[in-house]
Symmetry: D2
Subunit: 173 residues, 4 copies
């Protein structure tokens, strides 16, 4: 067992109802690559992109115990997707979105509607490094490369591909 | 005293550090007009636009006890702006943004940075009617007239003037 | 209209399912007396003792707009008892218990089960002055006069009657 | 790596300022035994009993990655004790107490003041199985064997020794 602390990355994106096939597939690949680089994932624990990234993580050859954390809006752990190693059922409703972005060292956004938008906005408020995928439709594409306000310099990193996102992570850590 | 229930409107916008003069002045007028129409205000209880709208409400000839509610991020009631009749010190940090938009029957956004953006995104998730002022700079202008995602039809109402916003409220209630 | 700020007192006790008649009646009287002394009430906005204290407040000759605040666990304002002037639907579940005790200048406990127990424990952690009624059954009686831990001196005030509780408030403010 | 889901137990007790030596030592042993039985731990991530139980877990021969989860009141992961594998910095203040007890399948209380009391009360509200150590001073001893209210049958299990607590867990799972 590694005694070194794992680094966790928050991954945000659409739930099952609005998750397109390209977003789901990108999520699978992203989860796999993150695990193989030794990163854990924090997400909202639901379906859609959240399920994809957890499934990807658990299918990686380099996966590890505790590689997937799901922070749920509801009260019951069984509502998590089956690929979450660790489940935090908050009972806080959408207020849990804040916990998702606060718990990672950086945030990667993949597609997404207004829920993802709120998570990107919170991540910016918290000063988290943010990477937004622009090769899928949704708020990640809309906000890629933008500065949300002037409370800090810089802007949301635009990743045009999975490789871009992974390079960005490599530079951060 | 009226025994009829008051209607409260959530008003969101920038804190003191980033509140421009036009946003502050629009807030004053908005607060005044809302009180004169019998509406109460729910806001984040801080400075900037939040202070302006509370000050406007308390300066109206039609103001009433309890017309201004401030839901604070911090633990201490004395951190509220002095125009809040009612102070809810949540100790929840920015998670209080959700309570601000949930507590009003409708949401009016005036300017704003990433905090306001998170509030607009939450209001959309909650299905609240949203009015965004487009006559001041900030996220309210950016999102005025837009549909944030397809979880429900319609879009954020664009108010090009205070009159537009008040007409929109009249049509709602 | 008084421009002076109102003082709000948190009142905690059982919901409808477990509220006995003596507790409900004490709540009615307590609400009435608090309003006549100019105090507002913050409570959990539900039935049982919460309803009683709100109803008492609104029935007082000295009642005022905004005299009753209900901070709800659920997402919908219509779940509040009908005597709440101001409703904060948190969507936070029982985490809202903390907001109830944080929002008052002091806490009065009337009867109660494990929910009330959690509120008394939180009030103690927050250093709020606490008055516990010992003339009704429940956790208020169990903890009246006790020191919950040594983080601060003193103990929970034991009120053997409504008069005791009101005298305690008079001494505080 | 085991693909089977780990079971997590919430462990609650005093922070560093009020943690006695017997409580700390019991925490160390408890953490060690839980890990050796394959259980993970959820705690508040701080010092005192929280640190002890995490340290015990990580020192066990049967420890595993992700065996210790710390759910912090503050905003910063570095505030966790160094034995937390997984850190959830909530920024919710003491409202995080609810998340601690909600995230475990059962709750074990060891000593404790008003914070621990609030956690026991919440665990009861949530219907979690609760075990309270009566061989150390604090609220766990006070409430061992008691029924907090009548919302459900049964009572808090009294563990007079670590062996009692472990047998109780064995019977539960």
């Amino acid at each position: 067992l590694s005694l070194e602390k794992r680094k966790y990355i928050s991954v945000v994106g659409p739930a099952a109802a609005t998750c397109t096939k390209p977003v789901y597939e990108l999520g699978l690949e992203l989860g796999l690559c993150l695990a193989n680089k030794g990163f854990g994932i924090v997400c909202g624990g639901g379906g859609g992109l959240m399920e994809a990234v957890c499934k990807g993580s658990k299918s990686a050859s380099g996966t590890f115990e505790g590689s997937t954390i799901g922070i749920l809006p509801g009260e019951h752990a069984h509502e998590a997707n089956p690929y979450c190693d660790i489940v935090i059922p908050t009972g806080l409703g959408i207020a849990r979105n804040i916990l998702v972005v606060r718990s990672g060292l950086a945030v990667i956004a993949v597609g997404g509607g207004s829920g993802t938008l709120s998570e990107i906005a919170f991540a910016w408020q918290l000063g988290k490094p943010i990477c937004a995928m622009s090769n899928v439709e949704g708020w990640s594409k809309e906000l890629a490369g933008k500065q949300l306000d002037q409370r800090h310099e810089g802007s949301i990193f635009e990743a045009k591909s999975l490789e871009d996102a992974l390079s960005w992570l490599d530079q951060l850590f």
